[in-house]
């Protein structure tokens, strides 16, 4: 196990390095303009551009530029220039919103996905099973930028059940917090609910054919005990990996879109606002932090998987 963790950590560090290099290339080498001008934003004056050039050392060699960029990002010196606002400050201020959204949505999709998956596997071929099969296929094709506006229009504008976007911090008013988040949670979760229920269902159907399940039945265990102790437990292992990967992908992906749609002032909205204003330092900060978070979560998931399923750490699998 220790060897597996070390190997996985080395892999993680390599990917993190690659990520930082890619971000460096994206901001410093790719653009066909002076990177200082890019960072300064729209209509920047020559003085600001010159000072940024000096500050970031854009006249130095590339490795030096790389180190000065990483130093800036990871010591919290990254600022947007017009007006001068530290990027870290903004991210820290907005992170509770992003976490409220993505953790809440994850709880909903796991709870609903697993319960529905369990029920449809128990009665495979029944009406619930067939309904979920259809929903899962349709659901995959419905992007959040359709589902979000439709939910807002129906439940906020027409029926006025839920507020029309916005965010209320949990510590200010828990009821309003919940009220503002229900639509975004479901927007983010619905696609995964269908998907997870399908995955759990097919895992369970596979496990039900295993010899040890037949043995459990043969030794006289009750059907509910067989299902819960043997079938469900073994079917959940792949779900854990899937969940970890999807959770990371959600924070760095659909959650950004959902925040923008529901005007939640989270980290994703911050990046989107910055994109809209052509302000690059926030985009740089959010990209690097977000990518690091996702890579870290993925490594954690692999370790958890290896812990749960010894075949993984003994086998020669696990790529970077």
């Amino acid at each position: 196990m220790a060897r597996f963790i070390v190997r996985r950590l080395v892999g993680m560090v390599a990917v993190l390095f690659a990520v930082s290099l890619i971000v460096f290339v994206v901001f410093n080498i790719v653009p066909n303009t002076n990177p200082a001008q890019l960072l300064a934003g729209k209509n920047a004056d020559a003085q600001l551009i010159a000072s940024i050039e000096e500050e970031w050392g854009f006249n130095d060699s590339l490795p030096e530029q790389y180190f000065s960029m990483m130093e800036k990002v990871f010591t919290g010196e990254l600022t947007s220039y017009k007006p001068r606002i530290p990027v870290d400050e903004q991210i820290i201020e907005r992170i509770p919103t992003t976490l409220s959204l993505s953790i809440g949505a994850a709880i909903i999709w796991l709870a609903f996905g697993l319960v529905l998956g369990y029920l449809s596997a128990k009665r495979a071929g029944g009406w619930l099973d067939r309904l979920l099969g259809g929903v899962a296929i349709a659901g995959v094709s419905i992007p959040v930028f359709l589902l979000g506006p439709v939910l807002i229009y129906v439940f906020a504008t027409k029926l006025e059940i839920f507020p029309n976007g916005g965010y209320v911090p949990l510590e200010e008013d828990p009821v309003e917090w919940l009220n503002h988040l229900i639509l975004p949670w479901f927007t983010l979760a619905i696609l995964s609910i269908g998907f997870y229920s399908r995955v759990l269902r097919s895992n369970m159907l596979d496990v039900m054919n295993e010899d040890y399940v037949r043995t459990a039945r043969a030794k006289g265990l009750s059907e509910s005990k067989v299902m819960r102790r043997h079938v469900l437990r073994n079917s959940l292992i792949p779900i854990i990996t899937l969940f970890g990967l999807d959770f990371g992908a959600t924070i760095a992906g659909t959650a950004i879109l959902t925040e923008v749609i529901f005007s939640l002032n989270g980290v994703g909205s911050y990046a989107a606002e910055a994109v809209g204003n052509f302000e690059l330092p926030p985009v740089m900060g959010v990209t690097l932090y977000g990518a690091f978070l996702v890579v870290f979560i993925n490594a954690l998931v692999d370790v958890a998987y290896a812990y749960l399923d010894p075949r993984v750490r003994l086998g020669e699998t696990a790529s970077a």
């Binding site: 790719v30 303009t33 506006p149 097919s202 760095a252 659909t254 923008v260 970077a320």
Partner: protein, 356 residues
């Protein structure tokens, strides 16, 4: 992973399908596809959508009498005896007129600028589909070459390609896509002979291609690894065929059915990716519009003119859904036993366990 010879293999490698000795493998696959009613119906839907966006200039010239980027802010519209403002004094655009104004502002105007939403929707769809198709072509071609090189040469070539693909695979694509998209949109690109103007369509196309390649190249590589073990490759080697001939004349035809399926699913996937990027402002740049930017423009007016945001979303969804169903149908028709899937991407996932 499909290791059995596929229809393409039969054509190239001289294998034979067991039933239907008269019909060729492609004909058999076509027959199987046509028997799948859902796939045929959704193929019809996709064709309709393509016709809809192709008709954009016709509608613009003969019905709406305007272009996708023409402003009508201060204009008034005569409907019977009534005069309606395209954009009223509060900046609210006119709603759908259907055929009341002879097809002008069929779906209303798009906002303060008073542009014809129907015309924008049609032209926007052209750009969405164009980007989806072109990126799918480029990615599939690139993935085939990379997969062939890695799977055929193995050794360090394989290590390098596989590592690079792994790294791209493990990146949060939307996030880095936004970063690259916005720097290309502002700064453009100049890398040797390649030059991309700031704000051109090549920006999002490049971003999407880079981040989609691993999703096709990895499974292709796996398939090539398996195919190089087959007898027909050995036979070709024995005949003295060189690496290029083996890769492109012997192995490539066997990848045809996989590539076709991936190509279809990739169009759908890339259209979603483009819509996400454009929705956030890091994809298609004004004055061009795609369905993604239309949703973003329309969401400010969701309370008064919900169709502005919802219709482009519906069109993307229908296009993606039809391509996914057609892709599934093609997979079943070309190789009923294979299980190739396009894996998770930007959080939108193809259901692996789903079967109806």
């Amino acid at each position: 992973m499909a290791t059995d010879p596929q229809p393409g293999a039969a054509a190239a490698g001289g294998g034979r399908e067991r039933r239907g000795s008269e019909a060729g493998p492609w004909k058999l696959a076509l027959r199987r596809f046509l028997r799948n009613r859902w796939a045929v119906a959704f193929l019809g839907l996709f064709v309709l959508i393509v016709l809809f966006v192709l008709a954009a200039p016709l509608w613009a010239d003969h019905v709406a009498h305007t272009g996708p980027n023409r402003n009508h802010t201060l204009e008034k519209l005569k409907v019977g005896d009534e005069v309606r403002e395209v954009v009223n004094i509060e900046g609210q655009p006119i709603g759908p007129q259907w055929f009341e104004a002879d097809g002008k502002f069929f779906l209303g105007a798009d906002g303060r600028l008073g542009r014809d939403e129907m015309v924008r929707l049609m032209y926007g769809g052209r750009i969405s589909l164009l980007i989806g198709l072109s990126t799918a072509v480029i990615t599939t071609a690139l993935a085939l070459v990379l997969g062939l090189l890695a799977g055929y040469y193995r050794g360090w070539v394989d290590s390098v390609i596989a590592r690079v693909l792994d790294v791209i695979w493990s990146l949060p694509v939307l996030l880095i896509g936004i970063a690259l998209g916005i720097t290309l949109a502002i700064g453009g690109l100049k890398l040797g002979p390649v030059e991309i103007q700031a704000g051109s369509l090549w920006g999002p196309i490049l971003v999407i291609c880079i981040f989609t390649v691993p999703y096709i190249a990895r499974p292709i590589r796996g398939e090539v690894l398996a195919l190089t073990e087959k007898e027909f490759v050995e036979a070709a080697v024995a005949q003295g065929a060189g690496p290029l001939r083996i890769m492109f004349a012997e192995i490539l035809p066997n990848l045809a059915s996989t590539a076709i399926v991936f190509f279809t699913l990739t169009i759908a996937n890339n259209m979603l990716f483009e819509a996400g990027l454009s929705f956030l402002g890091a994809g298609v740049q004004p004055p061009n519009a795609s369905w993604g930017t239309l949703i973003s423009d329309g969401s400010d007016l969701l309370n008064t003119q919900p169709l502005l945001a919802i219709l482009p979303g519906v069109l993307i969804t229908l296009t993606v859904l039809s391509l996914n169903v057609v892709g599934d149908g093609l997979r079943d028709a070309l190789d009923p036993r294979s299980k190739v899937r396009l894996e998770a991407h930007t959080g939108m996932v193809e259901p692996k366990g789903a079967s109806v």
